[in-house]
Symmetry: C2
Subunit: 454 residues, 2 copies
């Protein structure tokens, strides 16, 4: 019987691994891709869904649709909860068992509250479409509630937005929130001025975009300030509740009142890492990532490979010391191709090869017309920021977007948004204010009749 | 102080009424538009969101964005729960009071289970974006669950889709479900053949599209059958549960096993109708609609007008007996303009005028390339069906879609879908199978290991 390859997770890593078995390269194997959702998500643009710039279908493609022309791939919707390395099976949540001869685990990461999961209800993170819809709802509903609020202090709290975490996601969200408040919403409200909204970016470290060279981090901070974002560096979050959050800086402790806090700080590997550790005795690093061999396999389990954000992998460049692979999509894609190639080598009875990460650089966008780019080039590092960096970022992302139609629709949406400042996806399906009102029973005890347009 | 006009609900009727006060025609009034959601919904295309053909933002526009250039309009997100005709106030759910001098109630309708609300969890209706997302989820997840299901009977139940109600919405949904099963999904599954899915349309009456001339109803039935829909006429639903539904026909009772039943049968007026009756003593018809005067005002309450699906209104054509106004968007729009004009007349101290409905005809789509059109024309009724009727329907709907960008994106989506049979919005944010699995604990007790791609 043909070797059965099971791929858990269809993010950038899993998708790339499965595609590496297309055509003749996969003629002799059967592949099963199992994912918790029915879609491959283009994570780098998820913040655009959260900020109402793009609709969900623009950045998400049905997984089985992506494999429709790869007959050796079976797509299953399900969540793997247990792995048996001896029996070579994976167990789905509903009890179904999947057999495998080779296993690629690409379950990715989720956000972590550093052990303070009680913060989650007050500060949603951004990993899934549901997260994005929830953030979109909270941001837009905060302005709606402010328009209805008579109490000045409560209105101010409703119009104060706090993003925790100065990584790429936090910077993108804060910058776009500022754009919404300054450019998209003014003129649509009669009682409040959306431009009075305050957007704070709270980062525990000394600079934003820590993965970038210091100079570019400084550029990013400047561009955020220019967009109207209040950047708080070296500020540690000590508490979050329905009314806001507590931060501690060198200057001391401070209470930030806010009804809309977004969590972009911590990342933790998928819980499947623990399941793997129980099944194989492999070790996890502090972030819960699986420590893998140079060839991405598990120590003592050559048939199991771990890739993407779930793997604590090293890049092995001949003549250089091993370097950790950053948690970016190119890394996951390259690991996917490497894992697939190593499985083919095993099937041919050849030795596997160590993973080597090709670093094409690092880019992050801050908001309209502003981004920072750090590229390696034969002539040494190439670094620039501002408008051209933003254009570079835009086309790089649209280029890598899955599906040609998506790319076109996204470009169209952005062209429109750029000229009109409009954000096409400002639609909230579940537009109930209670989530906010509970936090502010104010409006109930509102002074009686007043002119509607007063 | 300027007269305060309060408009409850921003569907076709409320939106048109508010727009009728734009520019100089509204120079001397203040308008407040309050709606439960933050968006105006283009209801006629909602079934396209439910069937993954369009993304939500394509057919929904933020209400306050629509009024951004009409400074005399204040948009509020809120649900009116009570009306006081003497004090001239409306109470929002959160307790806030809105004062009005003139009131236009355009709260629309919701779906009715004819007193069997216990059916709701098993047969969602289609009125809101949330409804559409839920139906999209159930349809797509049914195919996903079938791909995982080993039991043939359970697989058949998962692949049997039942639409209850043969009105325009039911016909559109059934036709599109068939298109998805026959054209969109085949080739993407490895264990099931989506073409084996059965789509049933259950209608209690003797024909579908009862509002249409009999000949066109027959065309519609033929076109549905051609698309592969099993149309059951004269079939009354007597029960719905997690496992399917019971229908009774002349031939006797029958059990239809299905995990995906959609309710497109009953429509009931908004509960606000009852609130109005309590406040003013006005009478409601059997569907809960408010019986209004010829000028759309409430008997004895000239400052309150009820329009759209919430109104049991008559069209008063001089020299003809009054005729009931059909519950279609042109009717709601015309009532909106009439209500606004009558308020302006009252402000000028003139007499109000009776509402007259201009009937431009009736059209319904069935699916790819098929629709039925019934137009009045100077040369008498103009009726046609099939491909050209479909083209006519498509452009008529895109033309009336709110917002030029929407129109363009929708046309683009359709052009793409037409040539590729792909449906761009096949994305389910909350892609959890449990909702189905609970109904079928089958998979848990599944026979042990089997090849993934077996």
């Amino acid at each position: 019987m043909r070797p059965q390859i099971l791929i858990i997770g269809c993010g950038f890593g899993g998708l790339e691994a499965a595609r590496a078995f297309s055509g003749s390269r996969g003629a002799d194997v059967d592949i099963t891709v199992v994912d918790k959702t029915n879609h491959h998500l283009f994570q780098p643009l998820l913040y655009q869904v959260a900020t109402a710039g793009l609709s969900a279908p623009s950045i998400a493609a049905p997984i089985r649709h992506l494999f429709r022309r790869q007959p050796n791939v079976t797509t299953l919707l399900g969540e793997v909860v247990a792995i048996d390395a001896q029996a070579r099976t994976a167990t789905l949540k509903d009890g179904a068992l999947l057999r495998w001869d080779h296993l690629i685990v690409a379950a990715g990461a989720t956000h972590s509250y550093f052990g303070r999961d009680d913060w989650a209800p007050y500060a949603p993170g951004l990993k899934t479409l549901d997260d994005a819809f929830e953030i979109r709802r909270r941001v837009l509903m905060a302005f709606e509630a402010a328009e209805l609020e008579d109490d000045a202090a409560k209105r101010a709290a409703l119009l104060q937005f706090v993003v925790v975490g100065g990584g790429p996601t936090g910077v993108e969200l804060a910058g776009t929130f500022a754009e919404i408040a300054r450019h998209t919403l003014p003129g649509e409200f009669r009682r409040i001025d959306p431009r009075q909204a305050r957007i704070l970016l709270v980062e525990g470290g000394p600079r934003v975009l820590a993965a970038m060279p210091e100079a570019l981090s400084e550029r990013a901070r400047e561009q955020l300030s220019a967009l109207g974002v209040d950047v708080r560096l070296g500020a540690r979050v000590t508490g979050i509740d329905a009314d806001g959050l507590d931060v501690t800086t060198a200057a001391g402790a401070e209470r930030l009142h806010s009804r809309c806090v977004v969590w972009a700080a911590g990342v933790a590997a998928s819980p499947l890492g623990r399941a793997l550790a129980e099944a194989t005795g492999c070790t996890l690093d502090r972030a819960g990532r699986v420590v893998v061999e140079p060839d991405l396999s598990l120590p003592g389990h050559p048939r199991i490979q771990v890739i993407g954000d779930l793997a604590a992998a090293q890049s092995h460049k001949p003549g250089h010391p091993p370097r950790p692979v950053p948690g970016v999509s190119p890394g996951a894609k390259q690991m996917g191709r490497c894992a697939a190639a190593n499985i083919r080598r095993q099937l041919r009875g050849e030795a596997t090869q160590a993973f080597r990460y090709a670093d094409y650089g690092n880019l992050a966008t801050i908001g309209r017309n502003s981004a920072v780019v750090d590229l390696g080039s034969p002539a040494g590092p190439l670094r620039f920021s501002g408008y051209f960096a933003w254009l570079f970022w835009l086309f790089a992302h649209v280029y890598f977007l899955i599906g040609y139609r998506n790319r076109f629709v996204v470009l169209l949406d952005w062209a429109w948004a750029y000229w009109t400042y409009d954000r096409g996806a400002r639609v909230v399906a579940n537009a109930a204010l209670p989530a906010l009102s509970e936090a502010s029973p104010a409006s109930a005890s509102r002074p009686a009749p007043r002119p509607p347009a007063g």
